[in-house]
């Protein structure tokens, strides 16, 4: 073999050429929150090409919703973005109320705003905490899990469940605030602010954290808009688009809050935007509690919102509508409507089509993380394999929402 090579003129460059390695970062992997498969083509540690495959958590949300009555869809919407469940509920309820053409009472709007912001805090705690965990900051993760537990205690006293809340109904809510809620909020938020400060001290100026998050996974404004980015990832690039400000819904136009906006669009900016949003959400909750009026929490029309037991046991019309709602579902008028709310990840849009029956004809969710994940190849091509981890974390793909 050596003689042959010497005769042919042994080409050193040809012989020492490297090849790329294809490796599968499979669906069951600790760093991929939930289930996503990456098919990576690596040149050493550099990612040359990446093929993202989703769909491992496809649970047929739309098909299930078409088989449920309008009010029975709420548990399915909970499990879309399961880190911040009430936001999904609120979006669906508002889209259905838009189709009907009713408006909920003021106290209900304040309550929905308040519980939405608490859900947003929970979602951000989960995301930033898990992001820290992936980069090795185990203590920081534990701090935010404790902050999240305290918050979930509060949410549990209102909604009855820690994680998948199922609190909102078409035309109102299930129940009002419990006694002693304001004192609990004061106590819990004091502890949460302390934990936030501890987390901030540990990570924001940490050399290792900065090295891994700064200048990784960046995207320009033009690209972000073309790919359909919304939410914290878009605001990190510098575009101040927030549905709560651009098309205010519920009582956000009466709240005094800032929209944190980044500059470079890399992972560190996304982290900073989310951290600041937690603080802004706390402030919104406190304002809601201060401004909330007394009054009913449900719309007084028995066609859309189940009547109280008193009414349905003593008067005829509520009894008839109660029966119709349980057997057939509320007959929402024919038409279509799109309602966007600001989810924890971005613009969560609900597009509902009704054919006049008691079940939705079409219940479409516009998932924010679907658009974010589709741009992942653009964000990581050319960077190291280790940069994939913080980028993928900060994009915050939630399997339930992306795959539905």
């Amino acid at each position: 073999m050596k003689e042959e090579n010497r005769e042919k003129g042994y080409d050193f460059h040809e012989a020492s050429r490297t090849e790329t390695m294809t490796i599968n970062m499979g669906p069951s992997h600790p760093a991929t929150h939930g289930t996503v498969k990456f098919f990576l083509t690596l040149d050493g540690e550099t990612i040359e090409d990446i093929d993202v495959e989703i769909g491992y958590l496809h649970r047929a949300f739309e098909k299930e919703c078409e088989a449920q009555k309008w009010n029975g869809v709420f548990p399915y919407t909970d499990r879309l973005d399961y880190t911040a469940s009430v936001l999904n509920n609120v979006g669906y309820a508002m889209a259905a109320e838009k189709l009907i053409g009713i408006e909920v009472p003021e106290r209900c709007q304040y309550l929905r705003t308040m519980i939405s912001e608490m859900a947003r805090m929970s979602g951000h705690y989960t995301n930033v905490g898990a992001g820290a965990l992936e980069l090795g900051a185990l203590t920081a993760f534990i701090y935010f899990i404790e902050a999240r537990e305290l918050l979930w205690d509060l949410i549990e006293s209102v909604c009855g469940a820690r994680l998948t809340h199922n609190y909102v109904r078409i035309g109102g809510l299930t129940n009002d605030l419990p006694d002693g809620f304001r004192e609990n909020v004061k106590r819990v938020f004091a502890k949460n602010r302390k934990l936030w400060d501890d987390f901030d001290i540990m990570l924001t100026k940490n050399r290792i954290f900065l090295d891994r998050m700064r200048d990784t996974g960046g995207i320009s404004q033009k690209d972000a808009i073309a790919w359909g980015f919304t939410g914290p990832c878009l605001r990190a690039t510098g575009v101040p688009y927030d549905v709560r400000r651009a098309q205010p819904y519920l009582v956000y136009d009466r709240m005094n809050f800032d929209i944190p906006v980044g500059t470079t669009g890399d992972n560190f900016d996304r982290y900073l935007v989310r951290m600041e949003e937690i603080k802004q959400s706390m402030s919104i909750v406190e304002q809601c509690l201060a401004q909330m009026p007394e009054g009913p929490i449900n719309v007084d029309d028995a066609r859309w919102r189940m009547p109280s037991k008193d009414d349905s046991s003593t008067r005829m019309e509520p009894l008839i509508f109660h029966f119709k709602q349980v057997i057939e579902g509320p007959s929402i008028p024919v038409g279509e409507a799109y309602q966007a709310v600001e989810g924890a990840n971005g613009e969560l849009g609900y597009y509902l089509v009704s054919n006049g029956g008691g079940k939705p004809w079409k219940c479409r969710v516009r998932p924010p993380s679907f658009a974010l994940t589709s741009a992942l190849p653009l964000l990581v091509k050319g960077s190291l394999l280790a940069d994939l981890i913080p980028t993928f974390d900060m994009i915050n793909l939630i399997g339930g929402e992306c795959d539905r």
Partner: protein, 192 residues
């Protein structure tokens, strides 16, 4: 001592045991050794958290500081199936994910146990449609079922304690699970 003796007597006879082991198996040394092995196994589970969906958030809480699973010895997750002995299937398994679940289960080394966490793994939960597996016991043998959507962390810890008691009762020798009853997961084709 009494529990262990009962377990040994109830061991099925089709398990191939040489005559000497059968004769010695009721002696004091072997039963104490067996108790020691069971004690070691039940109080030091190495989890493989096969996390897919919403139950994963509750799993984070269970592993968190308040409902600490470390108290029960099951703290350290091992993300390689070869090194893990308790596979916790956390979250809905869709049909696309099913071959991967079977493959991971087949790759686990003996002894191994499976913990079905959440309603979706127990029976498909509220998703009864074309895309969801109606309970993972159609794919792999399950030891503990913990229902709930998602189950409260106290329920998960209760399930873990039940599994620990089950491990204490099981015979240690000749207790191999092998691959899943569906065989290897490599030949996939549409059925039905």
């Amino acid at each position: 001592m009494g529990v262990d003796e009962m377990a040994h007597k109830e061991r099925p006879t089709e398990e191939v045991t040489p005559g000497e082991i059968a004769a010695l198996s009721d002696s004091v040394i072997i039963t104490q050794l067996s108790r020691l092995v069971s004690w070691g196994r039940q109080y030091s589970f190495f989890l493989y958290p096969f996390i897919t969906a919403c139950c994963g958030m509750e799993f984070m809480s269970v592993a968190g500081p308040r409902y600490d699973i470390d108290r029960f010895g099951a703290a350290l997750p091992r993300f390689s199936p070869r090194q893990a002995d308790l596979m916790m299937v956390v979250g809905t398994i869709s049909h696309k994910q099913a071959p991967i679940l079977v493959k991971v289960y087949n790759q686990m080394a003996e002894p191994k146990w499976v913990f079905a966490y959440g309603s979706c793994t127990v029976s498909g939960g509220m998703y009864n449609n074309y895309a969801t597996v109606q309970g993972i016991d159609t794919l792999v043998p399950v030891d503990v079922y913990v229902p709930g959507c998602p189950p409260r962390p106290e329920m998960v810890l209760d399930g873990l304690i039940m599994l620990q008691q089950k491990v204490a009762r099981e015979p240690n020798i000749n207790m191999t699970r092998g691959v899943s009853p569906l065989g290897e997961a490599d030949d996939r084709k549409i059925i039905g």
